[in-house]
Subunit: 137 residues, 2 copies
DNA sequence: TCATTCTGTAATTTTATTTATTACAGTACA
DNA sequence: TGTACTGTAATAAATAAAATTACAGAATGA
């Protein structure tokens, strides 16, 4: 996971948790995160696909949590936004004529998968409720 | 860690381990990794600064491991190449007028630091020797 | 000694990725 | 039926990563 999507999604979820069921608009949330509202809407679609939030179209629409904050683990959130490999490079196209180059991707992927699995189980020990509780208000 | 530096550095180290003390040139290693030799040389400088390799200038020069492969942990390698935060975004400049935005970086950083610490201790359980041994030759 | 083969390093260009912007259709409300 | 939203596509701008070019300096050995 190489981009700001984890931070954006977590920020969204904290805002929704603090809103206690009140619908928040993407424009409002974009103002808090200080990013473009379209990015918020895209993340909301992903969060909705994962079952974390529900959203309502039309006037007075917006988003709210779809489940209790203690049912959303940070590991699940991580998995929902990860795109590239944890440690992975963009391009990795080693020389197949070299004995090391030929096999390294297989071994790197095994290492990455193993490491990522442990990272996720680590993150799964914390929920959105835990994280949200760190905010004083 | 968001780029291919971990993969590149590990590839270099495996090549050097398999070379058993014979000096390898950056051009040769770049050919195996299939990247530009200048990138290899830059990584070698970092690896040398970390005490993992030694390099020799001039004709018949090149690089070799500075210490035994079982003394180089993958956690130390990870630390040597990490630049950005593990889960961190490029830009993260939330609105300080929002109570959540005002505090979120503090809490995100605590989460990132904690998670990264555990990732590194996980990676520290594996050495270059372990990884290199996965290659059949 | 001097051509050769390396490393070290800076500067620049190219490519890839991420983020922002613009635009607009569709939905729901009041 | 205007207004305030979401959903979504297309494009542009900004940023980051990688490649390229260039060359100085070091060590070798013919």
């Amino acid at each position: 996971m190489n981009n700001g999507r984890f931070a954006i999604s977590l920020h969204i979820l904290v805002l929704l948790d603090k809103a206690k069921g009140e619908l928040l608009s993407s424009d409002y949330m974009a103002g808090s995160i200080n990013i473009n509202p379209v990015l918020v809407r895209k993340e909301l679609i992903n969060l909705r696909d994962q079952g974390f939030v529900v959203s309502k179209e039309g006037k007075n629409g917006g988003a709210t949590l779809a489940k209790s904050a203690d049912k959303i683990t940070l590991g699940a959130l991580y998995e929902s936004v990860k795109s590239a490999h944890l440690l992975g490079s963009h391009k990795n196209d080693p020389n197949p004529l070299c004995e090391i180059g030929r096999d390294i991707n297989k071994h790197l992927n095994a290492l990455y998968d193993d490491t990522e699995r442990k990272l996720i189980s680590q993150l799964n020990q914390q929920t959105l409720a835990d994280f949200s509780a760190r905010f004083s208000n």
